[in-house]
């Protein structure tokens, strides 16, 4: 803040405000002591033929309201940090109020989350009450990327299926939420060239049993064995320790068309799951992990 403002302006405003108070007090006193009307007369303003403005006196409590307003204004500036220079008698601040409300809420709702923290995730995942809480947490913190149904989208993994980049055991899921994940596929375009990228893509598609150009696939396999096996493994089954996807199934994080696969090889991909451990606290992460674990352990059925 201090980079953009200087104390000068705060004092400038405060002095203006102070002068305004003095002016307003003087004005009210001066106006109230005006000449006494001995007769009710028209001000001479006439509308709509015969609507006249008369100098009827206002009730006295009206005058007191002016004073009350002014006293309120001064009291406000003394109690709250309205002046900028002085923090106010009760040291109120928006951040302070936020923290206070959060601590009240933590005291109130903390135990609700806390009681599940010590139970194993599989047990929590079988508790419908806990799953309701977990679903609400998911709706608040996760749907923006993973979708309301946890089905994911291009670039964001589906959490409902049995395919897991970093492993589907409860502790893997919890670690993904808590510490986040960085999935990096390096770009190979410069090394492979356009033709190389095409050949490798043909081979990759053949891994999941799709129809491909045999010749190109053979050439692609050679390059795959040199460059890709380090992460994706000799059989292309992937490696959960690195988050390298299994290339032999029908699940494609960035799309399964040949164009999408070629783009992945050529330009690389970078996926980031942010760490939520510090932000949410362990109890909430525990509940979320249980909810997500429960999703892939039941299969929703189709209606009609």
């Amino acid at each position: 803040m201090a980079d953009f403002t200087s104390k000068f302006w705060e004092w400038y405003i405060l002095i203006l405000v102070g002068l305004s108070f003095v002016f307003c007090f003087a004005l009210v006193i001066w106006m109230a002591r005006g000449k006494k009307p001995t007769k009710i007369e028209s001000h001479g303003h006439v509308w709509d033929e015969d609507l006249e403005e008369l100098n009827n006196p206002l009730p006295a409590w009206w005058l007191y309201m002016f004073y009350i307003t002014l006293v309120f204004g001064i009291a406000y500036l003394l109690i709250y940090p309205g002046s900028g220079v002085f923090a106010g008698a009760i040291k109120w601040s928006a951040a302070g109020q936020y923290e206070q409300e959060m601590s009240v809420a933590d005291k109130k709702y903390g135990p609700l989350y806390e009681k599940y923290r010590t139970q194993p995730i599989k047990a929590v995942a079988a508790n419908p009450e806990a799953l309701k809480i977990g679903q609400r947490l998911f709706m608040t913190y996760c749907t923006a990327c993973h979708g309301s149904d946890a089905g994911g989208g291009p670039g964001f993994p589906n959490l409902r299926d049995k395919d897991w980049l970093y492993g589907g055991q409860p502790e893997n899921i919890k670690a993904s939420i808590s510490d986040g994940r960085n999935g990096a596929m390096p770009p190979w375009g410069a090394i492979l060239g356009n033709e190389g990228v095409h050949h490798v893509s043909e081979y990759v598609m053949s891994l999941s049993g799709r129809k491909v150009n045999e010749e190109a696939a053979v050439s692609g396999k050679e390059k795959f064995q040199q460059l890709c096996v380090a992460c994706h493994g000799v059989n292309g089954k992937g490696n959960p320790a690195l988050g390298a996807p299994n290339l032999t199934d029908s699940v494609w994080l960035y799309g399964g068309s040949q164009a999408a696969i070629m783009k992945s090889i050529n330009d690389g991909r970078s996926g980031r799951m942010p760490a939520h451990g510090e932000f949410l606290g362990e109890a909430k992460v525990h509940l979320l992990a249980a909810y997500i674990y429960s999703l892939s352990n039941k299969e929703p059925k189709a209606a009609k």
């Binding site: 106006m31 006494k36 007769k39 007369e41 008369l54 206002l58 923006a144 149904d149 929703p300 189709a302």
Partner: protein, 525 residues
């Protein structure tokens, strides 16, 4: 009406000019009185605006608080009005209406409809409103708007025909003030005793009476505040926690807040609410016409006013029927003199009609020197009750009321909202189908639990997936269901297609709602 004007009424003013009779207003009179005293009657009082000389004679109206009538500063000190007690037809009518409205207010929250269900309860934490057999939800706010419009038209309708009857007989400000005045009379005595007590120095009697009066007012006010909160919090629980002193902070605040508002409005502000604060008091003039019932003093019959013996024939003394007893001024709760013509302060309570009738009876003159009449009738022209304005208000009133009744009867107590996921436009499944995700928010507004069936249509071969088996929702509960729609891209005619979700209760074909949504996907050509 003039902005702050005392000679308020247009037609009266016009007539005044025509007949060139002097009709003073209250404050004008007070001001002049003060000026008169200052000059010790050295010169005759003159009307500032026209220079007309006032009619001579002592027909001045004794002011309500004449003793300190002089204006001290630019701002006027409030003068307490001490309305004299009045008996008669309209006073009885007001007591009757006050009993009805207050009885409704204090009694209704205690009334249950069904087992432990308060018949009238605006449950804010649960966001529902019990009205006898019905339960309304925030989604039904529309009905509230219609009811408010209906109330406004009722007000217009009655004002056009009967003038300010609302103000005089049923307005909460009038009704509660009436109760407070009654308490005041029981403790302080009648008008003269009240005024005497006010001037009295602080002694034992005054202390006792004042503490008694304020004590009674405070008790009544707190009961009012308690009842008001009882419309929002179950009143039986509220009563228990009030007695046990375990009221929540907000309940305590509102009980005392409404208690204080009642105490201040009905005890002290009284007629000032009507004259300075109430907007309706000001704009009702726009609804008046020469056929509207108003309370009016029959000047042709009453003037010239003056005291006389009961047996004297007024004609022989060149007097009208007004004996200038000023009782009409003493009973007025807003402190005006009805003989000055229609004024914006007049709340049409008809206290002056009642009291003048008793005087006319005593004098053996015909009743109705001050009466409910219309401007046309006063001028000897025919008055019409049924006129275009009344037909228009009445027609609208009937139309809106019928629309309200029909829509409440046809209301389906099932609410469905479809919220489309915003994060992805669509996704492709491994089988090559296009998938969209929606959240269905289903609200069971009925009084019993229902099991619902869901379906979707709008695209060939559309499939609805999700946790849809036996979706049972309890009465008054909301369930959010995440569902997916899948369609083959070859069936998509457009990048955005209309789809319809249909939610139906298993046990009733009437409980069905359809809701539109959009399905996004690629177009394959």
């Amino acid at each position: 009406m003039t902005q702050d004007g005392n000679p308020a009424d247009k037609p009266e003013k016009g007539k005044e000019k025509k007949e060139n009779t002097y009709v003073p207003s209250l404050i004008e009179a007070q001001a002049e009185l003060a000026a008169l005293r200052a000059r010790s009657n050295r010169e005759p009082a003159r009307d500032g605006a026209s220079g007309r000389t006032r009619p001579t004679g002592s027909q001045r109206i004794p002011m309500l608080a004449e003793a300190d009538a002089a204006l001290e500063a630019l701002y006027a000190r409030h003068k307490k009005v001490y309305p004299r007690e009045v008996h008669g037809l309209f006073a009885r009518l007001r007591v009757l209406l006050a009993s009805l409205t207050l009885g409704l207010f204090y009694g209704l929250p205690w009334f249950n409809w069904g087992q432990g269900r308060q018949a009238f309860l605006i449950d804010l934490p649960e966001r529902k409103f019990n009205l006898f057999a019905w339960t309304f939800w925030p989604q039904d706010l529309f009905y509230l708007a219609v009811i408010l419009i209906l109330s406004a038209f009722l007000l217009f309708f009655f004002t056009a025909i009967l003038g300010r009857v609302w103000c005089g007989f049923t307005c909460p400000q009038t009704v509660w003030t009436e109760v407070f005045l009654w308490i005041e009379r029981k403790i302080d005595g009648d008008r003269m005793q009240q005024m005497k007590l006010a001037k009295m120095p602080w002694n034992r009697e005054k202390l006792l009476k004042r503490s008694g009066k304020y004590g009674a007012w405070i008790l009544f006010s707190l009961w009012t505040g308690f009842t008001f909160v009882g419309f929002f919090t179950p009143i039986r629980e509220l009563a228990v926690s009030s007695v046990a002193l375990t009221l929540g902070p907000w309940e305590t605040f509102w009980v005392f807040f409404y208690g204080f508002a009642t105490f201040g409005n009905a005890g002290f502000l009284r007629e000032q609410v009507c004259t300075y604060m109430c907007p309706y008091a000001r704009f009702q003039g726009a609804m008046f016409d020469p056929n509207t019932l108003i309370i009016s003093y029959d000047k042709a019959r009453g003037e010239p006013r003056g005291a006389r013996g009961r047996i004297v024939d007024p004609k022989s003394q060149n007097l009208g029927h007004c004996i200038d007893c000023t009782l009409c001024v003493q009973v007025c709760p807003t402190g005006i003199d009805i003989r000055n013509g229609l004024q914006y302060q007049c709340i049409a309570c008809a206290a002056c009609v009642d009291v003048c009738d008793t005087v006319m009876d005593k004098m053996q003159y015909p009743r109705g020197l001050v009466r409910y009449t219309t401007e046309n009738a006063l001028e000897g022209k025919p008055s019409h009750i049924l006129r275009p304005r009344v037909w228009a208000y009445g027609g609208l009133l009937v139309a809106i009321a019928m629309a309200l009744v029909i829509s409440v009867l046809l209301r389906i107590p099932l609410g469905v909202d479809v919220i489309r996921d915003r994060n992805t436009l669509y996704r492709e499944t491994p089988e090559g189908l296009v998938e969209n995700v929606y959240t269905l928010r289903i609200l069971n507004m009925d009084n019993i639990a229902h099991t619902y069936q869901m379906s979707a249509e709008g695209i060939e071969g559309l499939r609805l997936l999700g946790d849809l088996e036996r979706v049972t929702i309890d009465s008054g509960q909301v369930r959010e269901l995440v569902v997916r729609l899948q369609a083959d891209p070859v069936n998509l005619k457009d990048r955005s297609s209309h789809v319809r979700f249909r939610v139906q209760a298993e046990d009733s074909t009437k409980l069905v709602t359809t809701e539109e949504a959009r399905f996004l996907g690629p177009v394959i050509r």
